[in-house]
């Protein structure tokens, strides 16, 4: 990366400002730059250079001081929330926000874990990479059951944009022709192992409404020439993705969208630049730029552009919008509806079942597959479930028990060592990823008095599950157990983590708080992710989501972002923004 793309102060007026550099910020920058706009990407964190700054990558466990565990005192002082994320360890901790510097508050009885990725590339470096299209079952959901406002778009509005982003990003998976989970533009799927294939057959014989497919993920199972041109090669199945991947084998800003944006020579980047607020001009009724606090010097500066894209993460974007007050918008910019900050959602994880599979003693596998089998939604598709609305997917895998599962077993000594070397039984698990209803009372606001070290008002987050979510999680565990038992899995154990163990936020799919909608009175953004109130202000990260569906959301964010950029540039050229 050329150093001169980084700036601090500038008098230049840009065509576009993109706030944030994660999955959506990277896409917005790529699209806007490729369409000829001089674009400034504003990132609150430090620069992270592809390959060079993946300092935890490729280091073997025994070469790490604490074998991947993070020092106790460091966790206590700086990562007491981030440590709850499954991907947080000694080789990834530098890609997680420091909890000492990024405080927020919650009511005592409504804990929320806010997992952060404040650096160039954002959480695109650490994401789980599962990539699924939505279908009209999802876009129609609010209209059908009346929870949340109707989505202003349908599948047909996004279909071509899904294909567009999939082609560039590289999504591995198999075409399955399942109505609730439209097929993507695919690279080859990862293989099932022998046990998974046997169980897949049994499940599909037993249940006419359920299929076990290979999880679709943003990995180059077999790169196409245009991926190789991006400097990316085939996934080596190390499954150490969150350390950063010098092979560029999974999609991230650094591996994929940033190189494309830089190629245009239209991109400039301002790192260590915390956006304080969006500047609003009451005369022109337009956003004119952003006010920034330098994270290192505490100095303030301003950047100006014709169009502004907020891609700062769901809660990051909403925090900036709430903090952007003026006479016209005393409660946050583009908030004439009062919907800003409300209808926060996350996904429901942490409930399912696992058990032991008999036989297959001479079956094994090699490589650490970065995805696993996936059962698309079957609840409330053909039949209405009596206990809850909407649905969930089940994901899991079959694997043999390795050394880390043996400490709970009795025994020690040479025989015990040999048992571990022989590999243990096969196990199979399924666990849910469920939809959360959009509810007004799940909300964020600015704390009236508390500020962070840069003087930004802290976010106060109030989020909890309703009966629908609790019932759905019970069904995830019950149904996973029922499926396992019906296909002959032994010693089936159900699990359903308590709220304390799996707080909202921990699924790291926070969505909503600046939702899209048809009516400016009840939503913040229109069908093009354009603020109803301000034509040159766009929000395309998770904040825009009107419902949560049950699929991992990032692929939909990518498609929505590319679509919004296309619209914004056309409108800009027509002089309409």
């Amino acid at each position: 990366m050329e150093k001169n793309i980084y700036i601090t102060k500038t008098a230049e007026k840009f065509d576009a400002i993109v706030v944030g550099s994660g999955i959506t910020g990277g896409w917005a920058a790529k699209e806007l730059c490729e369409k000829g706009l001089k674009t400034l990407m504003v990132e609150r964190g430090r620069a992270v250079e592809h390959r060079k700054d993946y300092v935890g990558e490729g280091i073997k466990p025994w070469e790490m001081d604490n074998r991947g565990k993070v020092k106790y005192q460091l966790v206590e002082d700086q990562y007491h929330i981030q440590k709850k994320c499954y991907a947080f360890n000694d080789a990834t901790k530098h890609f997680f926000g420091n909890d000492r510097d990024f405080p927020y508050s919650t009511p005592k009885d409504k804990p929320f874990s806010w997992i952060r990725g404040n650096q160039l590339g954002g959480k695109s470096l650490t994401w789980h990479r599962q990539s699924y299209r939505w279908s009209d079952l999802d876009f129609n959901a609010n209209a059908v059951d009346g929870h949340g406002v109707d989505w202003p778009i349908r599948y047909k509005d996004l279909e071509a944009w899904y294909s567009y982003v999939e082609h560039h990003a590289g999504i591995s998976g198999a075409a399955e022709n399942i109505p609730v989970l439209p097929d993507s533009v695919f690279l080859p799927p990862f293989e099932f192992n022998t046990v998974e294939l046997a169980l897949k057959k049994k499940i599909e014989e037993k249940y006419s409404d359920r299929k076990l497919i290979m999880g679709r993920c943003a990995h180059l199972s077999k790169p196409a020439p245009h991926h190789i041109e991006q400097g990316r090669i085939q996934c080596q199945t190390r499954n150490e993705c969150q350390k950063g991947c010098s092979f560029g084998a999974y999609f991230s800003t650094q591996s994929s969208t940033l190189p494309a944006a830089l190629k245009t020579n239209n991109l400039t980047i301002a790192t260590n630049s915390i956006v304080h607020s969006v500047i609003y001009d009451a005369n022109t009724k337009r956003a004119t730029g952003v006010r920034v606090i330098d994270s290192e010097t505490m100095e303030t500066r301003e950047y100006f552009a014709k169009v502004i894209f907020l891609c700062a993460s769901t809660l990051g974007t909403t925090q900036v919008m709430l903090n952007s007050t003026s006479e016209a918008f005393p409660n946050g910019i583009a908030n004439s509806s009062g919907a800003l900050g409300h209808y926060l959602m996350d996904h429901l994880y942490g409930a399912g079942a696992s058990g032991r599979v008999e036989g297959f003693e001479n079956e094994y596998y090699s490589g650490r597959r970065p995805t696993g089998p996936y059962m698309p939604r079957f609840r409330n598709v053909l039949q209405k479930h009596p206990a809850f609305l909407r649905g969930y997917s089940l994901g899991g895998s079959a694997a043999r028990e390795h050394w880390d599962k043996f400490s709970e077993k009795d025994g020690f000594g040479a025989d015990f060592k040999q048992q571990i070397r022989n590999a243990g039984d096969w196990t199979f698990s399924l666990s849910g990823s469920g939809e959360m209803l959009p509810r007004f009372e799940n909300q964020v606001s600015l704390h009236p008095t508390k500020v962070d070290k840069w003087g930004m008002p802290q976010l106060h987050i109030e989020c909890s599950y309703s009966t629908n979510e609790i019932k759905m999680r019970e069904d995830m565990a019950d149904t996973a157990a029922e499926i396992l038992e019906s296909i002959g899995v032994k010693d089936v154990v159900k699990f359903n983590r308590s709220i304390e163990e799996w707080q909202p936020g921990l699924s790291i799919h926070e969505m909503g708080t600046a939702r899209m909608g048809k009516d400016p009175k009840t939503s913040v953004l229109n069908r093009h992710n354009q603020a109803h109130d301000i034509p040159n202000l766009f929000v395309t990260d998770g904040a825009c989501m009107t419902s949560s569906a049950w699929q991992n959301p990032s692929l939909t964010y990518m498609a929505i972002t590319a679509r919004a950029c296309d619209y914004a540039v056309k409108q800009l050229k027509l002089g309409k923004v």
Partner: protein, 200 residues
């Protein structure tokens, strides 16, 4: 895939292929330091400080050493002592355990010596091997002198020994099979073509 898997060959091949592809497509980027690390066969990076003192006393370390070797003894590959698990545990609990967890570990070790003294009037490392095994078997099964809390301690301690052993180079790459860069995923490998479990 029924051919025997030659781990050393696979490791070298995968590394070479991956790097060759990168060299072809990324030009100068191949000199980036992280790639040198990937290519490196030596274990010279990120040197660990083996001699840094932990919180355990010499006596406690001797006990940990003995317990570790009973749990994972030397066989055709080195055991816990050969893999340096005792010094790892000393370093690890000093750096990564909370004060309460450290205290629990120290108390659990003291409990083992106390029961040993009660039964045989000697500390654990001084009693006969078969007495040691009998004591630990009772502890793991919460029988004889031991209760369920002792059983929980033993499981946790055993887990710590196993973590130290199987994340060491000896445990991961000699006793078990380890590939830093597997290259691809194969779902139909026969276990006996590999002959041992993967380290992770």
């Amino acid at each position: 895939m029924t051919n025997n898997i030659d781990l050393k060959r696979m490791t070298d091949l995968n590394r070479r292929n991956a790097l060759k592809q990168l060299a072809a497509f990324c030009g100068l980027a191949i000199s980036a330091s992280s790639l040198e690390l990937l290519a490196a066969d030596s274990h010279s990076i990120n040197k660990i400080s083996k001699n840094s003192p932990g919180l355990l006393s010499k006596t406690q370390i001797a006990l940990v050493q003995q317990l570790g070797e009973i749990i994972i003894p030397a066989t055709e590959t080195p055991g816990a002592i050969g893999a340096g698990v005792h010094s790892f545990i000393d370093r690890h609990i000093t750096a990564c355990f909370s004060p309460e967890e450290q205290q629990q570990l120290v108390s659990g070790l003291a409990r083992i010596d106390n029961i040993s003294k009660k039964l045989w009037r000697k500390i654990f490392i001084k009693i006969l091997p078969k007495q040691q095994i009998a004591l630990l078997t009772d502890m793991e099964k919460a029988q004889g002198e031991f209760d369920n809390n002792d059983r929980i301690f033993f499981k946790q301690f055993k887990g710590l020994v196993m973590f130290g052993y199987y994340t060491s180079e000896i445990g991961a790459a000699q006793e078990l099979a380890y590939l830093a860069i597997p290259g691809n995923f194969k779902g139909d490998v026969k276990f006996n073509s590999l002959g041992k479990a993967w380290a992770l």
